[in-house]
C-alpha cells in the first residue's frame, strides 16, 4: 500500500468519523435486590451472611461467590449504618463526555461496623478532600424518609444506596487503627 499518496496532511479530506453509541436497557430488579431496595426506603441496610464462611454481602447477591453456595432470606442480616473508611481515592475530574463533576472529589469504601460488609464508591460529606484518611469513622447521612428514592438502584449497582443515603459524614470519634485495614481486600 502507498498511504502517503492518498493521505496528504494538508488537504481537507475526511480523516475521522464520529459515531455516537447509545443503548438503553430495561430490567426488573431481581428479588434479592428488590428486597434490599425496600429496606433502604425504611432506612435499613441489609445483607446476606454466607452460612458457610460468614462473609456478608451487601446488597445480597443470592449466593456466596467464595464458597459457591446459595444464600436466601434466612441468611439476611441487618447492618449498621456506621463504619470506617477502609479505602479511598481522590478523583480529579477530566471533562470527558458524561463527567459532571468539576472539582476534586472522594470515592470511599466504608466497611460497616460488626463485620466485613463494605459499601464502595461512596460520597463523603462535610470533610475536605485532603482530610480523608483510612481509619476515619463515619455515619450514613440518610435522606428524610419521604424523600428517599430507589429509582437508581439496579441489579448493576452493587453496594449503592444512591437516592437514600446522601453520603457519609465523619462522626468525630477517634480513628480506628489504619493497619487493621491496609492491604486487605474488601467485599
Amino acid at each position: 500500500m502507498t498511504p502517503a499518496a492518498t493521505e496528504p496532511d494538508d488537504d481537507n479530506s475526511v480523516k475521522m468519523m464520529d459515531y455516537f453509541m447509545q443503548l438503553e436497557y430495561r430490567e426488573p430488579l431481581c428479588p434479592v435486590v428488590r428486597r434490599y431496595a425496600d429496606q433502604l426506603l425504611e432506612g435499613r441496610l441489609i445483607g446476606h451472611q454466607c452460612p458457610s464462611c460468614g462473609l456478608v454481602y451487601l446488597p445480597p447477591r443470592g449466593y456466596c461467590p467464595i464458597c459457591v453456595v446459595e444464600t436466601t432470606d434466612a441468611d439476611e442480616t441487618v447492618l449498621s449504618d456506621r463504619g470506617t473508611v477502609t479505602n479511598y481515592t481522590v478523583v480529579t475530574p477530566v471533562q470527558y463526555y458524561g463527567q459532571h463533576e468539576t472539582e476534586p472529589f472522594v470515592r470511599a469504601s466504608v466497611t460497616l461496623d460488626g463485620g466485613n460488609a463494605t459499601m464502595n464508591l461512596q460520597d463523603l460529606v462535610d470533610v475536605p478532600v485532603d482530610e480523608v484518611r483510612v481509619g476515619m469513622r463515619v455515619a450514613a447521612v440518610w435522606k428524610p424518609k419521604g424523600e428517599r428514592s430507589v429509582a437508581d438502584i439496579s441489579n448493576r449497582s452493587w453496594g449503592s444506596a444512591e437516592g437514600c443515603i446522601d453520603g457519609w459524614r465523619p462522626t468525630g470519634e477517634p480513628d480506628a487503627p489504619a493497619e487493621q485495614f491496609l492491604g486487605k481486600a474488601t467485599f
Partner: protein
C-alpha cells in the same frame, strides 16, 4: 489430537424475561453440570466462558459471571466474547496440552434488557454497516430473499421448519416457543421484515448452558457413558454481506469436513439456525439427508439464549447420545450476521 469427552452438561430453561441476574441464573446451571460430571469443582483445571458485555449493558459483566463458577482461590480461566461453543473449543484446545484433565465451558446471555436490533449492528463494520443500523432481522431477510430468488427454499418450507421446531420443542423443558399452529395459519401472518414473518425469527431469550470436558482417562474413570468429541472445527467468511454468497454456507461446509462428519452416518444434528431458512442452508452445507433428525430439541427457533445457544446445541447433541442411545450426532454454532462464522462438532458414544 487426543480424544476429549463431554462428561457433564446442563442448561437453564430459556425465558423471555428472566427475573434473576445473569450470574444468578448461571449459578445452578454450572453446579448441575459439575454434579452430573461426577467431579469436584476443584478438579477443574481450566474454565472458559462465552458472553457479551453489550448484551448485559455493563463493561466487564463477564467478570461478574465468574461468581457463579467459584473463582477463589484464583482459578485458571478465560473468556470469549462469543457463543459458549467457542469457549468449549478453547477448553478443548487447552485439554490437548495434557497437563490438566477436566475443563469447564459455559455460555450465558440476558437479551431481555436491551433491544437486539440496536445492539447487534455494533458487531459490524463501524464505518459502513453500524451507522446504517443493519439489524440481524434485516440481514437475515436479505439472505432469505436471496434463497427464495434462487429457488433453494420457499416460504412454505420456511413455515414448515418453524412448525417442526415448535412441535419438537413440546418435549423440551428448556424451550421457550412450543408447538401449535399449522403452516397455512403461519403463512397468513403479516411480514415482520419481508420476506420474514414472526415464525421465521428466533425468540428473545435469557438463558445459560454449561459443559464439562475431560481427557480420555479421566472420562472413563468418572463417567459411565462419556460422549466423545471426534472432531471440532470453525471457519469464517468475509464480513461484508455483499462480498459473500449468502445462499450457501461455505464456512459450515469446510468446518464440517474438517470436523470429520463424513467419517460415518449422522443420526442427530443440532443446528444453530436462528432463522428458519438457515436450517435448510445448513442442512445442505453439511450434506444432511432426510434420514437425519434435525433439531429434536426444537433448536434456536424454540429458544435463542444468545451466547449460550450454540453450546446448548452441543449439550443437546450430547444428551441425544448419552440419554437416548444415539451413536453419532453433530452440533453447530454460529456467530456474526447471516451465518458468517460457523463451528461444527462431531460427537460419538462409546
Amino acid at each position: 489430537m487426543d480424544d476429549i469427552a463431554i462428561i457433564g452438561y446442563a442448561q437453564s430453561p430459556s425465558q423471555r424475561r428472566a427475573e434473576l441476574t445473569e450470574p444468578q441464573f448461571l449459578f445452578p446451571v454450572i453446579s448441575e453440570a459439575i454434579e452430573r460430571a461426577n467431579v469436584e469443582r476443584r478438579d477443574i483445571g481450566f474454565t472458559c466462558a462465552g458472553s457479551c458485555d453489550y448484551l448485559s449493558g455493563q463493561t466487564f459483566a463477564f467478570v461478574m459471571n465468574l461468581e457463579a463458577v467459584g473463582a477463589w482461590p484464583p482459578i485458571s480461566e478465560s473468556h470469549v466474547e462469543m457463543d459458549g461453543a467457542w469457549a468449549l473449543y478453547e477448553a478443548w484446545v487447552r485439554l490437548q496440552h495434557g497437563d490438566i484433565d477436566v475443563a469447564l465451558a459455559f455460555g450465558s446471555g440476558k437479551s431481555s434488557p436491551g433491544d437486539p436490533s440496536e445492539i447487534y449492528p455494533l458487531q459490524l463494520d463501524p464505518y459502513t454497516l453500524t451507522p446504517l443500523g443493519a439489524d440481524p432481522v434485516s440481514m437475515a431477510a436479505l439472505q432469505a430473499r436471496a434463497m427464495l430468488d434462487k429457488g433453494t427454499i420457499t416460504e412454505q418450507e420456511m413455515a414448515e421448519i418453524a412448525v417442526r421446531s415448535r412441535t419438537n420443542a413440546a418435549n423440551n423443558p428448556y424451550a421457550q416457543v412450543r408447538g401449535s399452529g399449522d403452516v397455512d395459519t403461519l403463512l397468513r401472518e403479516p411480514y415482520v421484515t419481508a420476506p420474514l414473518r414472526r415464525h421465521d425469527l428466533p425468540p428473545i431469550s435469557d438463558g445459560a448452558s454449561a459443559v464439562v470436558l475431560a481427557t480420555a482417562d479421566k472420562a472413563r474413570a468418572v463417567c459411565e457413558r462419556p460422549v466423545w468429541i471426534r472432531g471440532i472445527d470453525h471457519r469464517i467468511e468475509p464480513h461484508q454481506p455483499g462480498m459473500r454468497d449468502l445462499t450457501e454456507s461455505i464456512s459450515t461446509r469446510q468446518a464440517g469436513r474438517h470436523a470429520g462428519i463424513d467419517h460415518g452416518p449422522v443420526e442427530v444434528a443440532e443446528l444453530s439456525a436462528t432463522f428458519s431458512h438457515q436450517e435448510k442452508l445448513l442442512r445442505e452445507a453439511l450434506g444432511l439427508g432426510d434420514e437425519v433428525q434435525v433439531n429434536p430439541s426444537g433448536g434456536a427457533l424454540a429458544a435463542n439464549p444468545v451466547m449460550a445457544v450454540g453450546l446448548a446445541r452441543i449439550a443437546e447433541a450430547a444428551r441425544a447420545i448419552s440419554e437416548r442411545g444415539v451413536s453419532r450426532a453433530l452440533a453447530h454454532a454460529t456467530s456474526g450476521q447471516c451465518l458468517q462464522q460457523n463451528l461444527v462438532c462431531v460427537l460419538e458414544g462409546a
